[in-house]
């Protein structure tokens, strides 16, 4: 399969991720959209690693997955904490710092 297919899918995934973060109000969905963006980047790493026949990109993906897992863990913990206080995970409700 040509490289451009992978690039195209990656771009599409990233754009969906960005739009999901910017437009959705549900915090859980925002976290999922973030995962989309991570994975679009991962896809690029793997595609190029294969294309150039070097392992560096493949290794990088494991790092990204580990970090993303940690980030999601913290994010979910925060969401639980926020839910306990606000009874909601609507991101627009969390505006206590409004100037």
């Amino acid at each position: 399969m040509p490289l451009s297919y992978f690039l195209g899918i990656s771009i599409v995934m990233f754009t969906i991720g960005v739009l999901g973060v910017l437009l959705r109000r549900n915090a859980l969905v925002i976290l999922m959209s973030l995962e989309l963006m991570f994975n679009s980047a991962n896809l690029l790493f793997v595609a190029y690693a294969n294309y150039h026949q070097i392992l560096t990109g493949q290794i990088m993906v494991f790092f990204v997955m580990a970090v993303a897992a940690a980030e999601v863990g913290i994010g979910l913990a925060l969401l639980v904490a926020i839910f306990r206080v606000k009874k909601s995970i609507d991101i627009d409700q969390m505006s206590s710092l409004k100037g």
């Binding site: 109000r25 969390m94 505006s95 206590s96 710092l97 409004k98 100037g99």
Partner: protein
């Protein structure tokens, strides 16, 4: 340098004791004074001062053998680079003379105070303050000793400030008493602030000396005077005139004399010790000590002469028209200090010192006797309270007295001696010392001579007036009728001082000039004292005439009652009222200095500070607030907005990085 030729007379090294003994007295009274009772406190304080006196006598005896004296180093104080300033005690004939006067008169006043304060604390209703009084007295002796023994201007200045502080503490001793419950505190404040102005002048003089001479040590400064007089005559004039400002403050001369009459708010021993005999002479001492500076500046000398002469005249005129027994003595003190200052200006430092010493005797005597009179009157007030005595009769008002010679014979005799000595009746001490000043004036400045002669006339007149009003005639109030002679503790110091007032002239008798020889090893004698018969006779007869005049006005036909008008006011009319109102100098200062000053302070407080400075500060604050109010709008609180701005930022950075090449 300090240890001259490695030799030091062992007696001279005792000199720190004159300072340390009063310190010990303070500590003892402070720590255990509560438990030793009034007698114990008085004894400790008197012993401390007496010890100082004893050491001073030893020093004087040692000086008889070794005229040069010594500088006794005590502590290293300031050492910056090449500038060294040490606390050194100076023993020479001048400082020892002052030490003898301060501790000698001080000792007598301490003893007197034991009796006087015993009555006074009970009369004022707070016996606990007895201890405080004696601690303050010892503190004063300590500070005064520091002043006269210092070997440089800075140590002298420390003592100078110290005596100022003690003056404040002691004259405001009954700080919650006086007119409206605040009169004494006000008087103390006035004295302190007025002195502050003078001290400011003195401090500037010290700075100028340091700047121009590079040292503050007496010996070094005076040795450099001729060189500086050549190179910077202006600096020398400035130094001497600023120093004179300090002197006018401390020694109560025009224009800063106004605090001394108010200082009579203090207990009478304080008036005698501080405001007559010792502290107020500190200015004269300073000028005599700085003789070298004044010799080199004739301009300053002229100013000094005129200030002294005019003060002597003005204060004498005011004294004539006062009714408060202590106020008369206060103005008399100012007047006599004027004599001394004028003498220094005339180059007759010996005469000034001579008059300083004799004045210390007879003025302390007069003040202490007036205290005895006041005690007697207060006793009469309370004794006559059952009868029809007016409880509000002022025991210090001479109009309320009269005929006291019968009830208080001892006080009367010593008072008479003091008054005659002050009036300049031969052969009492005041005659000789005043005569020397008059001789110096007659040779130096004819106008000043006439002014001083007139001031001497006034002196004899107001003393005569006082004697006749207080002691002769009939008692004008029940208080005077019931007055009682004071106890021995009070009268014995008076008798000793009376003897000194009579015999004090022997210090520098014409023909012998003991004091002059004694001081000649320290001071440069420019005008050896002379005895001119014509002047002596003139001053003597003027004093006699003045006393006779006082007799015809006040003695022959005494005041009929306490409300009677002063006979002098009939003949002098408005002039008497003006003198009685102290020439309205206080009011003049009030209008010319204090009012504008208060206005200025008000202006700076309201306009400069509140509107100006506060306005700028608050303006900056509110500007920041309103500007940050605009910025605040950016903070929407929506996480997605922030995410968008981060996204836009990333895109912008990417665009920049990609298009950079």
């Amino acid at each position: 340098m300090l240890f001259q030729d490695g030799f030091m007379n062992s007696t001279f090294s005792l000199v720190p004791l004159v300072f340390l003994l009063p310190l010990l007295g303070i500590l003892v009274n402070w720590l255990i004074g509560k438990y030793i009772g009034e007698k114990g406190i008085g004894t400790v304080a008197s012993l401390a001062t007496g010890g100082s006196f004893f050491v001073s006598v030893l020093l004087a005896l040692a000086l008889l053998k070794d005229h040069a004296g010594a500088q006794v180093p005590f502590l290293q104080w300031i050492s910056i680079g090449s500038f060294n300033l040490n606390w050194v005690f100076r023993v020479d004939t001048l400082s020892v003379t002052m030490m003898l006067v301060v501790s000698g008169v001080g000792l007598l006043i301490h003893i007197y105070s034991i009796g006087y304060m015993h009555e006074d604390v009970r009369h004022q209703g707070d016996p606990k303050r007895f201890r405080r009084f004696f601690i303050f007295l010892n503190l004063f002796i300590l500070a005064m000793m520091l002043l006269v023994t210092g070997d440089n201007f800075l140590v002298l200045f420390v003592g100078w400030e110290g005596v100022g502080l003690c003056s404040y503490l002691l004259l405001g001793f009954w700080f919650e008493k006086g007119e409206g419950g605040i009169g004494n505190a006000k008087a103390a404040k006035k004295a302190f602030i007025t002195n502050r102005i003078g001290d400011f002048g003195f401090l500037i003089a010290i700075f100028l000396i340091f700047w121009n001479f590079g040292t503050l040590n007496f010996g070094e400064v005076f040795a450099m005077v001729p060189a500086i007089a050549q190179s910077q005559p202006g600096a020398l004039v400035a130094i001497t005139l600023f120093m004179l400002l300090g002197v006018t403050g401390k020694s109560a001369q025009i224009p800063l004399y106004v605090w001394l009459p108010d200082a009579m708010a203090g207990p009478t021993p304080v008036s005698a010790l501080i405001h007559a005999a010792t502290m107020v002479t500190a200015g004269v001492y300073l000028m005599v000590r700085s003789q070298a500076l004044y010799i080199a500046t004739p301009v300053a000398q002229q100013v000094v002469v005129w200030i002294g002469a005019l003060t002597a005249l003005l204060a004498g005129l005011i004294a004539v028209a006062q009714f408060d027994i202590k106020k008369v003595l206060a103005y008399s003190t100012i007047s006599q200090l004027g004599f001394m200052v004028a003498a220094v200006g005339l180059g007759a430092e010996i005469a000034a010192m001579f008059h300083l010493v004799t004045h210390a005797f007879f003025k302390a005597l007069l003040f202490l006797s007036s205290g005895s009179v006041i005690l007697g009157m207060e006793h009469g007030l309370s004794a006559g309270a059952h009868g029809n005595a007016q409880p509000h009769d002022d025991p210090q008002d001479m109009r309320n007295m009269g005929g006291l010679r019968k009830n208080m014979p001892v006080t009367f005799v010593v008072y008479l001696i003091g008054a005659l000595a002050l009036a300049g009746i031969a052969p009492l001490s005041g005659f000789f010392s005043k005569d020397e000043i008059l001789v110096a004036a007659s040779q130096g400045n004819k106008a000043v001579f006439l002014i001083l002669l007139f001031a001497a006339f006034l002196t004899a007149f107001y003393m005569g007036r006082q004697i006749f009003m207080v002691f002769f005639g009939e008692a004008r109030t029940n208080a005077a009728k019931n007055a009682k002679e004071s106890s021995l503790l009070v009268t014995i110091p008076l008798m000793i001082l009376a003897v000194l007032s009579v015999a004090g002239g022997a210090l520098n008798l014409p023909g012998k000039h003991t004091l002059e020889h004694w001081l000649s090893s320290t001071l440069e004698i420019r005008h050896p004292a002379e005895f001119i018969w014509s002047i002596a006779i003139a001053s003597f007869s003027i004093a006699i005439i003045a006393i006779l005049l006082a007799y015809f006005i006040y003695g022959k036909k005494p005041l009929e009652n306490a409300k009677a008008v002063d006979p002098l006011s009939k003949s002098l009319g408005g002039a008497f009222n003006l003198m009685n109102k102290k020439f309205l100098v206080d009011e003049f200062y009030q209008a010319v200095v204090l009012k504008p000053y208060t206005k200025l302070a008000d202006f700076s407080a309201r306009v400069v500070d509140q509107a100006g400075i506060d306005g700028v500060v608050n303006g900056i604050g509110s500007l920041t607030t309103s500007f940050s109010g605009l910025l605040r709008k950016l903070q929407t609180g929506f996480a997605r907005t922030y995410a968008l701005s981060i996204f836009i930022g990333v895109v912008a950075i990417l665009v920049y990085l990609l298009t950079r090449i």
